[in-house]
């Protein structure tokens, strides 16, 4: 199983949609996929995979927040992942598309209440904290019980605990979506540098990182896609003072709405 985390420093980059498109693309190649929604504060994958013409979300029984809550409140690890998954089918057929592990029943008062009761300090930093082990165990269980070729994780924007675990601990590869603005690029570069440092400190295998440039405004298209991407690639690969390594690690490609594998329908879901 290869784990690819989709990350963006700022919102509005089309990160979740890119993940959903990627899942569909992999399914077309007959590769099995599990999509995991770690964007707990603003979850949306259960909308992206919906085929409902009105844009209604998939019915969710339980998700990542319920899994964490069960562990923190009851001190138990759920015995099966079955209650936390939704099997997605190719529309109009029985052919499997992907398995979704949603964040939970969002938006609902119960979801926000459960989320608010998760104490991140106790989960990751207290002396008895077991959050890292819990999430690595979850990844291992996904590999065992669901046996996908790919695990795609939708990580929270910015700097959060769950975003950190999804990128620094769980990922084999990180796809970082950026908009071509200074605040996006500087934030994303700082996080990418931090990821390299994290992997060195924890002695884990270095991450593959891919910068995907999203939503290039028409005014900048005149510059040409190649010029913009190479300029951003240079910026992202500038040597950091405390990372004495000049080898380019970040490949850069653009992700725009007219790519052939983008199949968004008007409701915003990715499933055609």
């Amino acid at each position: 199983m290869k784990t690819v985390t989709f990350y963006s420093y700022k919102g509005g980059t089309g990160r979740s949609l890119a993940l959903a498109n990627c899942a569909i693309y992999l399914a077309r190649l007959e590769l099995s996929v599990v999509a995991l929604d770690f964007d707990l504060e603003a979850p949306g994958l259960h909308y992206k995979f919906s085929t409902n013409s009105e844009g209604k979300p998939l019915p969710v029984k339980a998700g990542v927040v319920d899994y964490l809550h069960k562990f923190m409140v009851d001190g138990e690890i759920p015995s099966s992942l079955k209650d936390f998954t939704i099997d997605l089918k190719v529309p109009g057929s029985d052919k499997p598309l992907a398995t979704l592990i949603p964040a939970g029943r969002a938006p609902s008062p119960e979801y926000w209440s459960s989320l608010a009761r998760i104490n991140w300090h106790d989960l990751f930093y207290a002396k008895s904290a077991k959050g890292v082990e819990l999430l690595l165990d979850l990844k291992s269980r996904i590999a065992d019980e669901l046996q996908p070729d790919f695990l795609l994780i939708d990580a929270r924007t910015g700097i959060t605990e769950m975003g950190g675990v999804a990128t620094t601990v769980l990922a084999d590869e990180v796809v970082c979506l950026v908009l071509p603005t200074q605040e996006n690029l500087e934030g994303a570069r700082a996080v990418m540098r931090s990821l390299r440092k994290s992997r060195r400190e924890t002695d884990l295998k270095q991450l593959e990182m891919l910068i995907a440039l999203s939503r290039v405004p028409p005014a900048r298209e005149r510059e040409g896609e190649k010029e913009i991407t190479s300029k951003i690639q240079r910026f992202m690969n500038e040597e950091a003072q405390d990372l004495r390594d000049r080898s380019p690690v970040l490949k850069c490609s653009s992700y725009t709405a007219n790519k052939p594998w983008k199949r968004a329908n008007p409701s915003g879901s990715a499933v055609a």
Partner: protein, 202 residues
């Protein structure tokens, strides 16, 4: 749901509660989700080794437990507060206190305040001594005050660490065990705890 408060430390606002036949540690900042599960033997350790008071009070909700611990905490702190003189005034008093009387106060700090866990009271007094003219007028007393201050700080750290040392219920991560990944996971978790940030500062 009956919540049995089996032991508590009023000075720290920490309680050990039995609910659904499981022991849970409740400590500030209070949140039910943050209450850790404890091993059964931790209850006797808390009382014997870490100075918790045993209790048989039963509550109907977590809110009642937290209210009770809060009330006890405020009560203990206010009792200590009444005995603690304002440090500036204390320095004035200390400077006119004859050395033999001051020595008796030091003795009281050593034999009563520190052993009973009244560290703030002890430290306020000792700091006031070290800030006064005792340093030059009675260097022997100043030296004792410095030693007691060090001892008080060490015992306070030990006492606070006691709550952390209570053995938590072991969680088994079976999938990690099957793949022999427990050790590596624990190592990564330790680095993150030490760094106190999931992302490495860069």
């Amino acid at each position: 749901m009956a919540l049995h408060l089996e032991a508590f430390s009023p000075a720290e606002g920490v309680g050990i509660v039995r609910v659904d036949n499981k022991l849970r540690l409740v400590s500030p900042p209070y949140s039910r989700s943050g209450s850790a599960l404890l091993r059964e033997e931790s209850l006797s350790d808390a009382i014997v080794k870490h100075g918790f008071s045993s209790s048989d009070v039963v509550f109907n909700s977590w809110e009642e437990v937290i209210d009770y611990l809060n009330t006890k905490l405020i009560q203990v702190r206010s009792e200590l507060g009444q005995e603690i003189p304002d440090s500036l005034h204390a320095r004035d008093v200390i400077e006119i206190t004859p050395a033999p009387v001051l020595a008796r106060f030091m003795d009281k700090v050593e034999k009563e305040s520190i052993p009973s866990g009244r560290f703030e009271q002890a430290e306020d007094f000792l700091i006031a001594v070290l800030n006064s003219n005792v340093m030059t007028q009675a260097p022997e007393i100043a030296k004792t005050a410095a030693e007691l201050l060090q001892r008080s700080k060490e015992q306070q750290e030990h006492s606070e660490g006691g709550v952390e040392e209570l053995e938590r219920e072991d969680t088994r991560f079976e999938s990690l065990e099957r793949h022999s990944q427990v050790e590596e996971s624990t190592r990564v978790a330790k680095i993150i705890k030490k760094r106190h940030c999931v992302f490495a500062p860069c």
